[in-house]
Each structure stands twice: as structure tokens, then as C-alpha cells.
């Protein structure tokens, strides 16, 4: 028997398990609704007062002038107490001394870089990693986008944090932007896709619990063929979900993708490999349905939460460290950076991380499948 036949029967069995499919769609939806509700309630409790900020314009170009006018609008002045400073050092001293919450800085060659079509940054210096200044600057970029060629790099806010809490907002010369509102459904759907790990997990546990594994162990096929067939079967079952996600991405941002679809397909394939392997590994290690579901739900929730707080610029502490293990984070980075002109080096390093994770986890799955299944 070849591996493809095992793949065929694994897919057939997965498709007929309609209750699991319902779970894979229903559970993340509920989880997403809960998260959205919690976020809304937290935001309602904020006691708002004017935020003291300063800005220094070393560029003196058209954009800086527009920004100056933007800062003097009624809407901004009701929320911010703004002052101009004469030098970057003065502004930084005020930030460090706590006199202002943030300093907005336009570099000397800001306009020049933009005119040459290069990416450049509006920088924010702040002691707080969570600041409304960032949102205000983003708002400015989005406003300006309507009439000029300045665009914010979408994926995140490219929050490059230096020791004192200095932030940068990358600005792209193309017309691309990722709105905060788009991040939530994107991450919600990614979480939903990641629940596919349950499929691999249940397939492993059911074959042990329902004794069907014995049939394979006593038959004249080797363990590698069986485990890889089962793995590919589960992976193939999840591929249509990934395909739908790619279709969703293309539907929403298709016009901005400019032929980068292959990069996104590759990313989602790697993501699907990782979640399939992760599910099967949890199944092999626990061999129990309840504990496996708990582990997968917690891991998925944690990875999604870490990516979500990073995407909204509020990642800190434990969640920040979790990011490095999160396939959701790398997928999000690659997709958003690819669509919204992010850093190429970051796309490359994220892809390498995902390939490494997929390789390690697949190898581990096959190793455990051959050794721990009985």
C-alpha cells in the first residue's frame, strides 16, 4: 500500500467527522466574540485627559507643514497638549524627564527620501510603549494618504523600540495601509485556522483509542509510511481552510498584492504544516482527548493573543517572549509585510523561521508516530 492510499482514507474519515468540523468553526468563533467583547469593555473604562506631547521638525518640507496644520485642528487640540521644541535633544530630555509623554520627530531627509520613493519613518520617542500619540500619527498618515503619496507601512506600526521607549512609524512611498480594524478579523481567522490542530490530534488519539492502530502495526507496511500518510491526510484536509483564508486575503487586499500571492500561499502552507504537526505531537504525547484539547486551545489562544497585542503595539513581558514561538506571529508578519511593503529582511527571516519550525515539528511527528503510537 502506498502513502497516497493512507492519505485518501485519512481525508475521507476526516470529512465524515462533521462534529469535529463544527467544533473547528464554532469554538474559535465563540473565542473571538469573547475577546472582542473584553477588548470593548476595557476601552470603555479609560479616564481620558489631555496628553502632553512635543514635536521637532528637522525637515521643514511639505509633509511637516501639513503635520503642523493637522496638529492645530480642533479635534487634535481637545486631546493633546502640543508644543514645538528646538532640537531633538531638548525633546528627548523632556521625554526622559517625564514632562511630555512623547516626542514626534521628522528627520532632516524625510521629504527627500519620500520623493525618491524610499521608505522612511516618522519617529516617536516615548517612555510608554502604549501611547495615543502613535494612533494620532497613524491618523495623520491616513488623512494625508487621501491627498498625497505618503503611506504608512501597514503590517504593524513597525514599533522599533529602543531602550528609552523610542518608537518609529515607517512610512512607505506607495498607497498602502493596514487599518487596526482589519487586524482583528485577520487574527481571528488565523486562530480559527489554527484550531485545525485538533484534527491531527483527534486522528492520532482515535487511532489509539479505537484500536485501529493495531491493524497497521500488524500489517506489512512500515511505520514511516503510515505516519507520513496520516500526517499528509490531515494536512490535506486542512488545506481547503488555508485556501479559503488565502482567498479572503486576496479578496480584501488583492489590489495591493502586486503578484505576491506565491509568498502568501507558501506561508499558509507552512502554517498548515506546523499546526497539523503540532496537533499530532500533542496527541502522541498525551494520548488523551481532554488534556489535548486543553493544551491546543491554550497554545492557540496564547499565540493569537501575543500576535494581537504585538499588532496593536501593546506587546510586553511574557507575551512578547511568546511571540518568538508563535507561528501566528510569523504568518501575520509575512502576510502584512508582503502586502503593505514591509521590510524584505523581516519577510525573509520570518519565512526561514517558519520553514525551520515546520521541518522540526514534522520530523518530531514522524519520530513520535513510529515510537510512541502503541
Amino acid at each position: 500500500m502506498n502513502v497516497l492510499q493512507i492519505v485518501y482514507y485519512t481525508v475521507l474519515r476526516n470529512i465524515r467527522n462533521w462534529k469535529l468540523f463544527l467544533l473547528l468553526i464554532g469554538a474559535p468563533l465563540v473565542f473571538y466574540l469573547i475577546c472582542a467583547n473584553v477588548t470593548t469593555n476595557v476601552n470603555q473604562g479609560i479616564n481620558f485627559e489631555k496628553i502632553k506631547i512635543a514635536y521637532f521638525d528637522a525637515d521643514g518640507g511639505l509633509i511637516a507643514e501639513q503635520f503642523d496644520r493637522f496638529l492645530r485642528t480642533k479635534e487634535i487640540l481637545t486631546a493633546f497638549d502640543i508644543q514645538k521644541v528646538d532640537s531633538l535633544d531638548d525633546g528627548n530630555q523632556m521625554v526622559k524627564g517625564g514632562k511630555i509623554e512623547a516626542l514626534i520627530y521628522f528627520r532632516k531627509d524625510f521629504s527627500k527620501s519620500l520623493n525618491q520613493g524610499k521608505k522612511t519613518n516618522i519617529e516617536i520617542f516615548s517612555n510608554k510603549s502604549v501611547s495615543a500619540t502613535r494612533l494620532m500619527v497613524e491618523d495623520f498618515i491616513n488623512t494625508v494618504n487621501a491627498s498625497s503619496a505618503i503611506k504608512k507601512i501597514a503590517g504593524d506600526i513597525n514599533a522599533k523600540e529602543i531602550s528609552s521607549g523610542i518608537k518609529q512609524i515607517a512610512v512607505s512611498s506607495t498607497r498602502k495601509t493596514l487599518k487596526d480594524a482589519d487586524k482583528y478579523p485577520f487574527l481571528g481567522l488565523m486562530e480559527m485556522l489554527a484550531y485545525g490542530a485538533l484534527l491531527g490530534c483527534f486522528s492520532v488519539i482515535n487511532s489509539i483509542k479505537k484500536n485501529t492502530l493495531i491493524r497497521f502495526n500488524i500489517s506489512p507496511i512500515n511505520g514511516f509510511a503510515y505516519v507520513s500518510g496520516q500526517f499528509l491526510g490531515n494536512f490535506s484536509t486542512l488545506c481547503p481552510s488555508s485556501g479559503l483564508f488565502i482567498a479572503y486575503t486576496y479578496y480584501v487586499w488583492g489590489l495591493l498584492m502586486q503578484g505576491n500571492i506565491l509568498n502568501i500561499i507558501l506561508t499558509f502552507l507552512l502554517f498548515t504544516v506546523i499546526i497539523t504537526a503540532l496537533g499530532m505531537i500533542v496527541g502522541y504525547l498525551t494520548k488523551k482527548t481532554g488534556i489535548s484539547v486543553l493544551i491546543i486551545v491554550c497554545l492557540n489562544g496564547l499565540f493569537t493573543a501575543a500576535t494581537l497585542v504585538w499588532a496593536t503595539g501593546t506587546a510586553r513581558g511574557f507575551l512578547k517572549w511568546i511571540l518568538f514561538l508563535s507561528p501566528h506571529y510569523y504568518t501575520y508578519l509575512i502576510v502584512t509585510d508582503t502586502i503593505f511593503d514591509g521590510f524584505t529582511s523581516r519577510i525573509q527571516s520570518s519565512l526561514i523561521s517558519m520553514v525551520m519550525a515546520a521541518t522540526v515539528l514534522t520530523t518530531l511527528t514522524i519520530f513520535l508516530g513510529r515510537r510512541k503510537a502503541v
Partner: protein, 309 residues
């Protein structure tokens, strides 16, 4: 010789599950394996089918060493596990196709064999049904069909009739006899002594990981019993009759209980005619039963009556 097991040893930490077991199974026989729970039967069988790695010993099946030719041997092995082992989300037909393909069957041969296995187990009309809705007896039959689809030379059946109705059990037992007639060698593990007695040509009883006795059922009974017991139901019974019976040659004891006379004689004393003559002189015989020692008696004598874990 189809199977030869030499000095098999399997240890689980401090527990010696199989202790130096040696067995031989001839081609064409139905070989019974008996033993109380935890006797080591399943461990020994698992070692023979490659589910358990042994600590020492040698397993030779079809003249080949299991260690060296595992896949080749497995091609001709059919195993009916104690627990139901098929996919409940596939139909009976699909299950058999799947397991048939594991043994290299394909195309028209596969279809033919699947059809044959379904017919053999009486499930042909249920081939498109999902086994989730099957009765326990039907599930057991499908479990057997899965092991037969590739026409194995050696079939190992681990308690295939547990928890089923007498009709299904009878069907399974008849099927086993048919398989044997067709040339399959069968290793049959069961706790049901009457099944072992009915089916098996040779029997091994295991306990505490060791083979404690082996032979044909007649040999086992002969080894274990020295008495013969005759129970006669009479119209009337009296103590004079008992005294007369006791005087017969070979009679060790005789007693009445109501209208029932029990006579215990030495093995092979051949005094049944004398007993009937004496009894019929003074009373009318309603029924007469010569009680043979059962396999269960042998089993309990050898393994004891204390409960096992």
C-alpha cells in the same frame, strides 16, 4: 511446522510476563491457548505478531525468523484482536478495502476478496452500512472479516466471541471450522472452555508466564482425572441398592440424594453394565448420565480457584 517459539522471555520492569515459553504449532491445526487473566497469553501472542519486542527467545513462523523477515511474515498473518478494531466512520466495504490494501491487494482481486470476506461473515447485505450502527455480534464478525480479507495462512484470534449472542457465536465457531477445513492454521485464545473443547485440536494452558501443560484435550483430561462419575435418576432409590452397587468392581463410592444415585468409580473400570443391571432390578431408570471430566475441571485444577487481577 508452521510456528516455533523457542525460550521466549518478556519482562516488564520487575514482572516476568513471559517466562521461557516454548511452543510449536503444526500446519492445519486449531491451536487453543488458555490461561487466567495475566497469565501471559496476550504478551506471548503480541510478541508473535510484532506488537511487543521480546527480551530474549526466538520466533520462527513459516520457517523464517520473525526478527529478520517481519514484513514478509506479516503478509501471511491475520489477526483478530480482542477489541473491535476498525474505522467506524467508514462503511464495512470501505474498511475491508482499506485493510486489504494494507496487504497489497488491489483492483479486481481486492473487490473479489472483500466480497468473499463479507459473504463469509454474513455481512454482504450490510456492506454499505456504517458499522457504528451494528450490533455487537455484527461488529465482531466485521472484526473477523478484516483479518481474513487477504487470505492469511495463519490466523490468530484473541477472544473473538466476547459479549455476543449464541447465534453470532455459533456462526463464528462454524466459520472458524470452515476456515480450518480450507487449510488455515488458527491460534485461538478464549476463556470459554466449551469453545476451546469444540474447536481445538491441541491446547496449551499458561499461567504466571509459563506453559503449565500442553497436549490434545483428551490427553489433558487423562492427565488430570482418576475418577469416573455416573449419575442415575431413578423412580425409587433405597440404601440396599447403594450397598449392592458398592460391591461392584472398581466402585470407590456410591450415595443417593433423593431419587438420584451417584456412583464414583476408578478410571477405566468398565462397570457401567453392572451398575445398570443392579439398578434396573429394583427400580426404573428415568435418566442416566456418565459425567466426563471437563476442560474447565482441568483448567481449575491446574490454575487454582483463587481470583486473579
Amino acid at each position: 511446522m508452521l510456528v516455533e517459539v523457542r525460550n521466549l522471555v518478556k519482562r516488564y520492569k520487575d514482572v516476568l510476563a513471559v517466562d521461557n515459553v516454548s511452543l510449536t504449532i503444526e500446519e492445519g491445526e486449531i491451536f487453543g491457548l488458555l490461561g487466567p487473566n495475566g497469565a501471559g497469553k496476550t504478551t506471548a501472542i503480541n510478541a508473535m505478531i510484532g506488537l511487543t519486542r521480546v527480551d530474549s527467545g526466538e520466533i520462527i513462523i513459516f520457517g523464517k525468523n520473525f526478527k529478520d523477515c517481519e514484513l514478509e511474515i506479516k503478509r501471511n498473518l491475520g489477526v483478530v484482536p480482542q477489541d473491535i478494531a476498525f474505522f467506524e466512520d467508514l462503511t464495512s466495504y470501505e474498511n475491508l478495502c482499506y485493510f486489504g490494501k494494507l496487504y497489497g491487494l488491489n483492483g479486481s482481486l481486492l473487490k473479489e476478496r472483500v466480497q468473499e470476506a463479507l459473504e463469509f461473515t454474513g455481512l454482504l447485505d450490510k456492506k454499505k452500512q456504517n458499522p457504528k450502527k451494528f450490533s455487537n455480534g455484527m461488529k465482531r464478525r466485521l472484526n473477523i472479516a478484516c483479518a481474513l480479507v487477504h487470505h492469511p495462512k495463519l490466523i490468530i484470534m484473541d477472544e473473538p466471541t466476547v459479549g455476543i449472542d449464541p447465534q453470532s457465536r455459533n456462526h463464528i465457531l462454524q466459520s472458524i471450522k470452515q476456515l480450518n477445513k480450507k487449510g488455515s492454521t488458527i491460534i485461538y485464545i478464549s476463556h470459554y472452555m466449551e469453545e476451546i473443547e469444540e474447536l481445538c485440536t491441541r491446547i496449551v494452558i499458561m499461567d504466571h508466564g509459563r506453559v503449565i501443560v500442553k497436549g490434545t484435550k483428551e490427553e489433558l483430561k487423562a492427565q488430570m482425572t482418576s475418577d469416573e462419575r455416573v449419575v442415575v435418576e431413578l423412580s425409587t432409590a433405597n440404601y440396599t441398592l447403594v450397598d449392592n452397587i458398592k460391591k461392584l468392581s472398581g466402585v470407590k463410592d456410591a450415595y443417593v440424594n433423593g431419587n438420584e444415585l451417584t456412583v464414583i468409580s476408578q478410571k477405566n473400570s468398565n462397570n457401567l453394565n453392572g451398575i445398570i443391571d443392579h439398578v434396573s432390578e429394583s427400580s426404573e431408570i428415568i435418566s442416566l448420565n456418565v459425567e466426563q471430566p471437563s476442560l474447565e475441571t482441568v483448567f481449575l485444577t491446574l490454575t487454582g480457584r483463587s481470583l486473579r487481577d
